[in-house]
């Protein structure tokens, strides 16, 4: 039992999902990175083009400078070579302009990709619905994904991808230029370049191993501080604050030591790169110098001039520059792959229900017939719903909800979470959905709300049942004033008097000490200042104001004490009765369901019996 709790249900919590992310195959995250690139890849090509153009401009610059010096030092004419210096100045502007364009395109690419991804996340969240959404982390975790993890992809597109292409192309162009002047110098550069990736790979592999071995400890230490801040009250009441302070310092220093181990390896790999590039530049300089002195008699050394020597020397550092940039952006890739592997599973709709067209047959003519006239058409889910006209229909009318042979599964191969052979709910009917916890009550309500979809069977919802009111176990109040919260479901203008009426009906007092500014009281994070009962009352008043004809209530009073619960239920039932509102109320308390006229009993996801009280 203990094991089951630890490894079963508890693993669904948000923090675990994020830490589990690395187990998702890296292929999925790479695929996501590729898919996101596709619509905007022209910006990447532009970045590459600009980078290569900058490389060509660099060659022109080196040649113009070397030629100016050659003319002025060796040439017969002692006048300044103004026109060559002017060419060099032009090449400078061209080069840095093109490099700017390269960065600009990379940034643009990252901007567009992140925008796409965020829109997808938002749209996908609505598509998933609140039930599947909550299974994949609490709202704070989703907000972090939207902000931080999407940001973590930026460097991959802005820097890594442009550098990846240029790290090959630009050195090749420069190498060709060097070979055209002196193949020995070119060879020196050519030979030193491949050594760099080889050494870096060796060191990089070592760092990856260190990283994997330390990851868990590092994560825990990184969370240690946060954990102690959360636990401040407990620490204070345990008189353990001072011990905790020492503990925090010790953990922070452990974390530092671990980080430094990883960093030292990373620095070593960049030192290797710098060393080879410095040695190569030095070798080129010494080779060129000795050749110019006439000490080297072989190959092209005999023909070397001040121009070709300086030209090759000026190109040497540029030759290694793209490699260095690539090495610097390499960690961008690692971060992006990690973020993408956390994001990839969220971008599939994930709920393993088959495609709506395959599984949900189109509405039968019979259904259309039974729907009757006047915009009350029973439509097949999911479709656009028409707004219902004003007056509540009389009972018995066409059903508000009709479920036939419905099956819902959360996992493709798991047993169904809900099986309903037949369930029909008339307009204005008020039904208690009862059963022990885990019996599928919430799933049935979520199905009626459209938050989850049936894998098979048909769900028909009358147009008048949209929009509906939803009150869950813990209602969400939005940041803003009480007034804004009450008006969430009310598209039309509502006077303050109406608001006060609705609040009174829900049992909320405007002169309550927790509402110092009345309707304009700001409600902050975690429903600041309001008790659980008040929050549920605000949700009830919101439902009343919305004029919805269908109320879906998922244990709306479970967080309340018996008196408050009974009082709130009385109000709920009075209002729904007076206005002919259709109500589905999930509960496991007899005291509650005895007060509704019809009971639907669920056990282990199956509809057991329905009966009138």
């Amino acid at each position: 039992m203990w094991k089951a709790q630890v490894h079963g249900t508890r693993m669904n919590s948000a923090a675990d999902i994020d830490t589990q992310a690395p187990s998702i195959p890296a292929a999925a995250s790479r695929e996501l990175l590729r898919v996101l690139l596709r619509p905007h890849r022209n910006w990447l090509y532009l970045a590459w083009l600009a980078g290569v153009g900058a490389g060509v401009a660099t060659i022109v610059l080196a040649a113009a400078v070397a030629w100016s010096i050659h003319l002025a030092v060796i040439g017969e004419d002692s006048a300044l070579p103004w026109h060559w210096l002017a060419v060099a100045a032009f090449a400078v502007l061209l080069r840095y302009g093109l490099q700017g364009l390269r960065d600009w395109s990379g940034q643009q690419l990252a901007f567009l990709v992140r925008g796409d991804l965020r829109r997808k996340l938002i749209a996908n969240a609505a598509e998933l619905g609140p039930v599947h959404l909550a299974q994949r982390g609490h709202s704070g975790a989703w907000a972090s994904r939207y902000q931080e993890q999407v940001d973590a992809l930026g460097g991959y597109y802005a820097r890594y991808l442009p550098a990846l292409g240029l790290t090959l192309a630009v050195p090749l162009v420069l190498l060709a230029a060097a070979f055209s002047q002196d193949w020995v110098a070119g060879l020196l550069l050519l030979l030193s370049a491949p050594l760099i990736p080889v050494f870096m790979a060796l060191i990089g592999m070592g760092s990856e191993q260190i990283h994997e071995a330390q990851q868990e400890r590092q994560n825990r230490l990184a969370g240690h501080f946060l954990d102690r801040i959360r636990g401040l009250d407990l620490l204070r009441r345990s008189l353990a604050l001072e011990a905790a302070r020492q503990d925090v310092s010790a953990a922070a220093n452990d974390y530092r030591r671990l980080s430094m181990r990883v960093l030292r390896v990373a620095f070593l790999s960049s030192a290797v790169m710098e060393f080879f590039s410095a040695v190569a530049i030095g070798l080129v300089a010494i080779y060129v110098g000795f050749a110019l002195l006439g000490f080297l008699e072989f190959g092209p050394a005999a023909q070397i001039t001040l121009f070709s020597g300086l030209f090759v020397l000026l190109l040497a550092p540029e030759y290694f520059q793209p490699l260095r940039q690539f090495a610097q952006s390499y960690h961008d890739r690692a971060g992006a792959v990690a973020a993408a592997s956390a994001l990839a599973p969220l971008l599939t709709t994930g709920a393993p229900h088959p495609a709506p067209h395959g599984a949900n047959p189109p509405p039968t003519p019979e259904e259309e017939d039974r729907s009757g006239g006047r915009g009350q058409a029973l439509r097949h889910h999911p479709v656009e719903y028409e707004r219902s006209p004003g007056t509540p229909p009389k009972r018995p009318g066409p059903p508000a909800l009709q479920l036939r042979a419905v099956e819902v599964r959360y996992e493709a191969h798991a047993p169904p979470a809900l099986v309903i052979p037949e369930l029909s709910v008339a307009h204005g009917e008020r039904i208690a959905v009862v059963g022990p916890s885990g019996s599928g009550k919430s799933t049935l309500l979520a199905l009626c709300a459209g938050f989850v979809r049936a894998g098979s069977g048909s769900v028909a919802i009358a147009a008048s049942a949209r929009p509906f009111a939803w009150i869950g176990q813990r209602s969400h109040l939005f940041h803003g004033s009480l007034r804004e919260n009450l008006l969430l479901g009310s598209p039309k203008r509502v006077t303050d008097a109406d608001l006060a009426d609705a609040m009174a009906a829900a049992g909320l007092r405007l002169d309550d000490p927790t509402l110092p500014q009345g309707l304009d009281t700001t409600i902050g994070e975690e429903n600041r200042g309001l008790s659980g009962g008040q929050v549920q009352r605000v949700a009830l008043a919101r439902a009343l104001l919305s004029g919805s004809r269908l109320w879906l209530l998922d244990e709306p009073t479970s967080a309340l004490d018996p008196e408050t619960e009974s009082d709130l239920l009385t109000r709920l039932l009075e209002h729904s009765h007076a206005r002919g509102i259709t109500v589905l109320l999930a509960t496991h308390q007899q005291a509650v369901y005895q007060r509704l006229e019809r009971v639907v009993r669920l056990a282990a996801g199956r509809l057991q019996e329905q009966g009138r009280v």
């Binding site: 709790q5 923090a15 100016s68 010096i69 302009g97 030192a271 030095g282 300086l310």
Partner: protein
Amino acid sequence: MSDLSFLRNLFRRRRTWTAAAYLLLALTWGSAIALLALSGWFITAAALAGAGLLLGLELFTPSAGIRAAALLRTLARYGERVLGHEAVLRVLADLRGASFAAVARLPLPAQRRMRSGDLQQRLIADIDTLDGVPLRITGPLVAAGLAVLGAAGLAAWLAPWPAPLLITGLAGLTIAASALAARFGQTRSRALVGRRSRERVALLDYFGGLADLLAYRRAAAYQQDLERREREQAGALLLQERVALGADQAVQALVALTALAMLALALHWHAQGLVSAPVAVLLALMTLGLNEALSSLPGALWRSGESLEAASRLRGLGVDSADAPDTPLQDAVRPGEAPQDTDFRVEGLAVGFPGQRPLLEGLEFELVPGRPLVIHGASGIGKTTLLETLAGERPPLRGGVRLAGQAPQHWPETTRYRAIGYLPQHTPLLDESVAANLRLGMPELTDQDLWAALDTVELANPLRREGSGLDYRTGERGQRLSGGQARRLALAWLLLRDAPVVLLDEPFAGLDTELEQRILTRIRPWLEQRRVVLVTHMPERMPKDWPRIALG
């Protein structure tokens, strides 16, 4: 104290390390410049010697110099990175300790605000943001200054006065541009941070309130609002990055153009016979070599606002960077003495939030051993506020609580928490072993003590079965326990504190009736030896002979 002096004090603590890292960075750049300049000098001299225009070129020194510069650059770079990061990470490790202490010292209402996950995350991000100050701002500034001074000095020695002037002019221009960038960038960075936290609020509403939004068909409107925010936020961020990168390229272009000007000047002087040809080339390449040192400055300063903003928020929490990192938290040192007399009475007490109508008023009672007081009433009526007031964590609005004749909040914390054991409604456990949670502040407890308490709350057997026993980790926010298990572990924590006055807020929440009754039977003698207030929804489940107060 300003944000700047906060940062200065903070990094001053490791100033030797930091200074060494700065010097090494200057050495890195210096040797990179030397490598390029010396190579240019050598090639030109060799070409002249080869053509018979220069006699007696000494080969050993320049080629050794080139090799030395190549090696030095690598070593200095590595040393600078290791030293610099070591220093910064040490400072930040100290800062974590100091921030924890500062938050722990905050007055309780301010500390309660830190319960918000958002504020906690921000505190952590703020501390991490400060690493940019020495690594990307002061370090490069100091090292660039040294590199420029070196280059200008060499130029003054080798060439007429316009050469050093050109180099200092270039550096001055770059630094002026950086100062401007800092000024404009800071306001933008701060605005960006503000906009981001507003976006987060909107995101929490969207993801948290999706059910209501879908039900009332408001999801599309909220999506549009989020998209608009994203466009604004990402657009501002894009501009921020573009300016930084654009400035980098602009400075590099400026350095390259200055190098060309230097070349033209030097070649002119060469024609006049003022400098030799190799020196002319050296001057130009030396100027060009400054681009690594100068190019990152404006961009880094443009973004310096992020660090300043972080510093100002940390200051707002009362974190003082001048504090020694190991100042102990005074009130929190055990062992404190529990008062001998634990007489506990309440007279004419009104509780609630300051400046608002009291939630409860006119309370009168006295706690007597053997007669635990059961308090019940509707949700939201103020039961939790009452217990907080009794525990001395919240001042009463009127009237008084007397613990041994004195208001609890006037007792030092050590004395108060030895006398009062308070089990609040929600107890976030630490992400530690069961033993560590139970031993908080009481390291002297033996394993037998812990097992005995766990047995009382029926947690001992599940823990034994699980295998890791007392070492079982509770997980972040107690996630590796069920709600009922976490509640029972908190109850065991309270039993071990063994305080003479005990305040319990829904001690059996999340437990089924049978388990609740079994535990209650077991702890009843313990409770009846103490002065106890027990708040509950279900007074009928408590022993019939305990006195009751119904609120509301």
